[in-house]
Amino acid sequence: MSNNIIKIDYNNIDVEDIMRQIRENISKRNYSREDLDALEKEICITSDDEFDANAFASHIATNNTHWNIQMAGNISNNKRFIGPLIVLFKRAIRKLTYWYVKFLFTQQIEFNASVTNSINQIDRYIKYAKAENDYQNKYYSSKINNLMEEYLRLSKEISRVSEENYKLKELVIKLENDIYMLRSENTEKINHMKEELLVLSKEANKTSEENCRKLEDALNKLQQRDIPLLKKELEKYLRKHEHVDMDYTQFEHKFRGTREEIKRRQAGYLKYFLNKNKVLDIGCGRGEFLELLKESNIDAIGIDLNRENVKYCNEKGLSVVHADAIEYLSQCDNSSLGGVFMSQVAEHLRPNELISIIKLAKKKLQPGAYIIIETINPTALIVFAESYYMDPTHITLVHPLTLKFLIESEGFSNIETLFLSPVEEANRLPKPDQAGLDEIISKLNDLIYGYRDYSVIAKNT
């Protein structure tokens, strides 16, 4: 198979069969062997028959000198004796055939002249055509050269422009990226600023509304010439800012009882704050309850208006800040406090201040968290003889039922009232043997020598 002139390498084809078909077909057709042999010869690319101008010119020169054939040439013979005889004979022959040969010669010369003339004309025409061709060649060559130069210039220009175009495209991409980046950065900043602006404008609105309302109120009151009310407001303001010039810390140390005693008394409240966080002790004083909370690992913070107390507590490592209860509570997040404890503070407050504190506490306490308010119990007359008047910063006393009512009306539940710090048995009236008298004395005792303090404990719903 491999000896075949054709090679087909796939199974379903029989090369022999193909070759047989080819041979059959060849034999049917009239292939010319000569033709095919000629085809198989390699044709040399350089074998063009070039025109030889020099040979052509020399042929023309020969034509021009030889076209006019000399009919009567000189007849001579140099042989001795016989020579003149031969010459005579030749001349006789020439003379005898002259009439016939002359005609042929004349025709030949005419033909020669015509051919030579034609060739001369062709030569002239070629020379002219060549000159014309040369001229045109020169003309078109210069044109082509110019065009080539123009083409090269344009190619270079196109390269340059493409390159610039490429650079520009890259630049555009870069700029687009930059713009995109700037836009996203700015959008972020703008959004942030919008948010801030919104907060600020809300605050500004709130403040300005509040101020407007206050101003309007004041203006209304002035317009209504409600002088007594203004006077009252002024008094209230003055009262709020009135200051008792005494060393209250020292005073507390002397009359409130030792820290240990207070801690012992307050230990009973701890169970209401177990497992809570962010318990607020309003008017924490010397921080006894904060210390109890800390010992039980309950996270708490105290506030007090007395800077000495704040300093004292901070030195003891307790977290206490100088703040007003209403202001502080207002700033706390809603439902954030794990408890509010306010011991021996209510008696220093105006009724509205106490109400505000209860209202705020309701709002800021987590559901299930307790509020404990401990204050002096005005149902025991002895407190008037002792604690109430002893402290010149006391403003008012709150009846246990009143406090319970206030707390209840804010929506607290599980309200219980504990009466604490009873007057020691020794200080009460001695009991007579009669039961009737006994009872009277007991009641008298309750009235005069009853409990010094009370507290109200409540759970937020």
Binding site: N4, I5, I6, K7, I8, D9, Y10, N12, I13, I18, Q21, I22, N25, I26, R29, N30, Y31, D35, L36, L39, E40, I43, I45, T46, D48, S155, I158, S159, S162, E163, N165, Y166, K169
Partner: protein, 356 residues
């Protein structure tokens, strides 16, 4: 961080096999995640945006160099002297200079120079990749040590476009259209195609045409010689349209009845793959890389007997079974040149090299 890859070649244009291969490899390298650049001495304006001028070449020794070798140029010396540690040659073969004797002295000189440079470069490269076994054998004979075959990557998806209407309308008829595609250069032996056509037309089928598609730039003397031959044979159905558009190329394959290749020197011969893709039966002379590319497909002719070649054209045209079998063999062969497969081979070779 992947190493940068730099492809170098003397001239880059569009439409020729070496340029196409370079641009395809650039895409493959990008797919692999390699930053890569192409540098050339002569750059066609149409692709100037994708290629840098060799004057601007900046490289450090860690970059991988891929050098495309097909002709002599000052780049060979430049590549030899580069400090880069990894250099790869892709050898597309150099046409023997003698074909250009008396035709184009410039090409003759460059081919001679190319052969000398090929010898000079034998120890320069980490790896030499050859388009075909034929090319690889040349490298081994010259003393190249690490050689491998990597066929050209041809993206056939690119050919899936509408053909030029004018050509299809003009020639898609009952004539037999014989086609050859390839630059008009003497090693491709266009004269033998003309002789085959002359025989076929004279003795078998007057209703036939011959299309010789390809650029002839710089080959004026050879074209003049072919024209004289056509004149002497008194043939008037031969078409030599010069450089054409891609749409026109596709149209010529669509109207072709048979692809006839008489070339005596090819490094790979992409038009054979194109013919396979367009289901045009191939008749080709057994020379250089042509048997490698055809494999077990098409029809190979061992001798230039023009009566036999003419009869083969006739048989392919008239014997439906034979034609179907030839096309079937070509379809099978085309699978071997699947672009993804060759890309993967390249990726494997490249990954191993880049790691070194």
């Amino acid at each position: 961080m992947n190493r940068k890859v730099i492809q170098l070649l003397p001239s880059i244009s569009y439409g020729d096999a070496v340029s196409n291969h370079t641009l395809t490899l650039a895409n493959v390298l990008s797919e692999l995640g390699y930053e890569n650049e192409i540098y050339a001495m002569n750059i066609h304006p149409k692709i100037a945006t994708k290629v840098h001028s060799i004057d601007k070449l900046k490289t450090d020794e860690n970059d991988i160099i891929i050098f495309h070798m097909a002709i002599g140029s000052p780049l060979s010396k430049l590549v030899k002297d580069l400090p880069n540690t990894t250099k790869i040659m892709i050898y597309h073969n150099i046409t023997p200079a003698d074909y250009f004797l008396n035709i184009d002295s410039c090409t003759y000189g460059l081919c001679c120079q190319g052969r000398d440079e090929l010898k000079m470069l034998k120890d320069t490269f980490t790896l030499a990749l050859a388009d075909s076994e034929f090319n690889r054998a040349e490298l081994i004979e010259l003393g190249y040590k690490n050689t491998q075959v990597l066929p050209l990557i041809v993206n056939f998806d690119d050919y899936n476009i509408l053909p030029d209407k004018k050509i299809v309308n003009s020639y898609d008829d009952d004539f037999t259209n014989i086609l050859f595609v390839g630059r008009i250069v003497p090693n491709k032996k266009h004269e033998d195609i003309i002789k085959s056509y002359y025989t076929y037309k004279k003795y078998i089928n007057r209703k036939s045409r011959l299309f010789l598609i390809g650029s002839s730039s710089g080959m004026d003397r050879y074209v003049k010689y072919l024209r004289k031959l056509i004149y002497d044979f008194d043939l008037n159905d031969i078409y030599i349209p010069g450089h054409i558009t891609f749409k026109e190329l596709v149209a010529y394959y669509k109207i072709a009845s048979v692809f006839l290749c008489m070339s005596e020197h090819e490094g790979f011969c992409v038009p054979l793959l194109e013919s396979m893709y367009f289901k045009v039966p191939i008749i080709a002379y057994e020379a250089a890389a042509i048997p490698d590319t055809l494999g077990n497909s098409g029809i190979i002719v061992r001798e230039k007997k023009f009566d036999i070649i003419a009869e083969l054209i006739n048989l392919v045209e008239t014997n439906e079974d034979f034609r179907e079998n030839v096309i079937k063999s070509q379809n099978n062969r085309l699978n071997y040149f699947n672009a993804d497969r060759i890309k993967n081979t390249f990726k494997e070779i490249f990954k191993n090299l880049a790691r070194e």
